[in-house]
Assembly symmetry: C2
Homo-oligomer: 213 residues x 2
DNA sequence: TAGTGTGAACGTTTTCACAGCT
DNA sequence: AGCTGTGAAAACGTTCACACTA
């Protein structure tokens, strides 16, 4: 056993492999190969084997991988074996969609609480949970022992809410706010921004247009 | 002038720089430095200078960068100077949020059309636009001369809709569907998946827990 | 024989450190 | 004097190609 550190780029692909393995399980497939799995994941076979090698040797030469066993290994590596409590801050359209997504497909997660600042939203029930007042954010985080939060709130209040979450004990934040947030060492921040994604597409559209134009 | 190819990783950061430059403009700042801009963007000064160097030399040694001029250069490089038509497919909570986002902050984009399959949604007005029937997807794409589409629909129909979009002339797709999509050469696909993002956070949470536990 | 696991080659991205310009 | 722009070095990531083994 050689517990090498798993590279960032590999970690980013593990969830895709896990989904592919779940699909295969659902189809009743019990054994797979790096070729098949790579195809499903949209990567090269060599890359897939290299990625999996960081989790240890779980394949059988000449045969392939046991779908169920490999699925367990990937899930264990990702740390999605026990449900992680997630607090969603901001229950507009986006927060609403996120809450339903996590509540629905929640493999490895559960929506621990929903929080908003809008009095017309507080008290309503979304994804089976009553929306609570952001004023009690710290209590909610401590009550649920949540370490992960999702931010779907206006830019203007994002840094303040982020600071309060960290102060209350959150160490992982997924933000949909189009703004750079500052977090202390030891807190992981992942940012998803529609504007950024569209602008990257715009760049490639321009390049393609230039080649023709 | 040396029009070197802009690396992928640099392209991914340009939108962040553009936002930072717009913030500075809003604050009335006319000149900035790699140090200040890097701070706002959350990257190192050397990385920022290297990134900007791919767009040509626009800084002044000993002084810094002209905020307005640099903003124009970055916008031009990204291809967000003229509004790009975007079709949003799927107007559930997520599609709704995306439509409002693009319609609101739309620097470089405009929502050309909204499309859905649900009869109770078709005909309703969202973000100032009437939702159209997905049955007429191809006509909508051609009518608006849209080259970019956003997918916020159920997994089961995603590949089919994707194929139809490509067939109709779309060459850039941003998908929020948790599934690997196949697109032909020449079509750019960017994927955003909440489940993947949360699982990456779970990985880091586990690592931190292991260091303490 | 078929398919894994991995050393080695290759390509990309980041960082350093400083020459060069204003 | 101060900040940019960039060679050179280091770090990181991907792909190749094949030895190895069930």
């Amino acid at each position: 056993m050689t517990p090498r550190p798993v590279p960032r780029s590999t970690v980013a692909r593990l969830p895709i492999y896990l989904r592919a393995l779940e699909e295969l399980t659902a189809q009743g497939v019990t054994t797979t190969s790096s070729g098949q799995l790579a195809e499903l994941a949209g990567v090269g076979p060599a890359q897939l084997r290299r990625d999996l090698s960081f989790l240890g040797s779980h394949g059988v030469r000449g045969v392939g991988y046991d779908v169920e066993h490999l699925g367990e290994q990937v899930a264990t590596a990702l740390g999605v074996t026990a449900d992680l409590a997630v607090v969603i801050v901001g229950v507009g359209n986006l927060g609403h969609a996120l809450a339903n997504y996590v509540a629905g497909t929640g493999q490895g997660f559960r929506v621990a609480a929903l929080v908003d600042a809008d009095p017309t939203v507080i008290g309503t029930v979304v994804a089976g949970l009553e929306v609570e007042d952001v004023a009690g954010l710290e209590e909610v985080v401590r009550r649920e022992e949540a370490t992960v939060a999702v931010l779907a709130i206006p830019s203007a209040v994002a840094q303040e809410v982020c600071d309060r979450l960290v102060e209350a004990g959150v160490t992982g934040i997924l933000t949909f706010v189009p703004r750079v947030l500052q977090v202390p060492e030891g807190v992981d921040l992942r940012s998803v921004d529609l504007g950024t994604e569209l602008q990257i597409l715009a760049f490639h559209e321009q390049r393609k247009a230039a080649l023709r134009g």
